[in-house]
Assembly symmetry: C2
DNA sequence: CTGTATACATTCGCGCATGTATGTATAATC
DNA sequence: GATTATACATACATGCGCGAATGTATACAG
């Protein structure tokens, strides 16, 4: 067996990415071997080294492969004018995050990898900022939404949109962290909806 | 050079622990070498293997060495009857956490290690539960405090102590996570006091 | 004062992961 | 239809980290 079609090559590349996700999740990034990845994909290390320079580049590919679609979904919710009340848009976006988590095992897997199975040192030190939380752009979108709400008089008086956005952002990060580390216990998951509602409700005018 | 006093041996053990903390923090746990640790402590791998079975046992020693004192401090605040209003005790405990963070570089270092430089897979998979957040006992103490507050009519009506405790616990986890990953930027640190105050204020009766 | 356990240093052998170099059959290009 | 670039597999060289075995000088127990 030797040379494949360009389309076939793309498929093997995708197979390597998915194999890597599973292996990283199982053994942790540092202790994962490119041999293990190749083996899981039904290939040899030669294939891996052809498509990716090293383990780090492979890791980046796995990351964007999973998160790019999710970022799209969140952006459309927060930026669309579908919701009259910006706080409703925020609440919907928060729910969307955990809906995605429920629907996509791959997202859960990748989050677990990033939060629990990856050491951000040396080459990986640079990844951390852009991989943290739901992304910095999300924080900015939140601030936008809170400002709009404040302008419409829909935000609880005496609260600052900037710090509210930060607070929500941290809330989401904490929730994700808690969900991941608690292994998505049902007892925990069922509370998420009410916690999100409570979180946003505290920001609405009394 | 050879055999040392029992007291001297304890000191070298402590030196190994501190060297390990620095090396773990710099290279990540998985990529740290016992050789590097020994070298940093001015010793050889022989010494390390004498005091600790392997890297994992050493890691556990580093962890308890840093956190045991901190747990003591928090427990005394939450369990002492010093505060008439339990919500004040909670607020004080939250402040205490970040006071400790400000005072103790070793605690910051260890948190960074646990959140960013450690892969919880294989042997390390078991550490995660007991190392997560400020500890599960802290969550229980929070629930106690909220229940007392509710009994005294000092908790905002319509709120459940159990979910309030969970919410605060997650808030702290998210804050720690954010502080660590944001590298303790001043802009961020200065907001912590007000964020804690706002968090607790939302739970007081209107 | 003698023997034994201690607190390390030194040495050795091994396996394994990495990176690269080379082989090779076949798409793609013209 | 010959050439070239592609998409891998295979083979090789290297180093590094680990665990254990061994050595050794000294504190300590009796």
């Amino acid at each position: 067996m030797a040379r494949k079609t360009k389309a076939e090559a793309l498929r093997t590349r995708q197979q390597i990415i998915e194999a890597a996700r599973h292996v990283f999740h199982e053994h942790g990034v540092a202790r994962s071997t490119l041999e293990q990845v190749a083996c899981r994909a039904g290939l040899t290390r030669g294939a891996v080294y052809w498509h990716f320079k090293d383990k780090f580049e492979l890791f980046q590919a796995v990351r964007t492969d999973v998160f790019d679609p999710m970022h799209e979904r969140l952006a459309t919710i927060l930026l669309t004018g579908r919701y009259g009340n910006p706080l409703d848009a925020i609440e919907a976006a928060l729910h969307e995050i955990f809906l995605v988590l429920d629907e996509c095992p791959t997202v859960r897997q990748m989050l677990e990898i990033m939060l629990l199975r990856c050491e951000y040192a040396n080459e990986f030190a640079d990844v951390q900022p852009e991989s943290e939380h739901p992304g910095v752009e999300f924080l900015e979108s939140l601030e936008d939404a809170y400002k709009k709400a404040a302008a419409k008089g829909l935000l609880r008086p005496g609260t600052d949109p900037k710090s509210m956005a930060l607070d929500t952002w941290i809330f989401v990060g904490g929730l994700l962290h808690a969900l991941i580390t608690r292994g998505f216990e049902e007892r925990f998951k069922s509370q998420v909806r009410t916690m999100i509602a409570a979180h946003v409700a505290l920001r609405r005018p009394a």
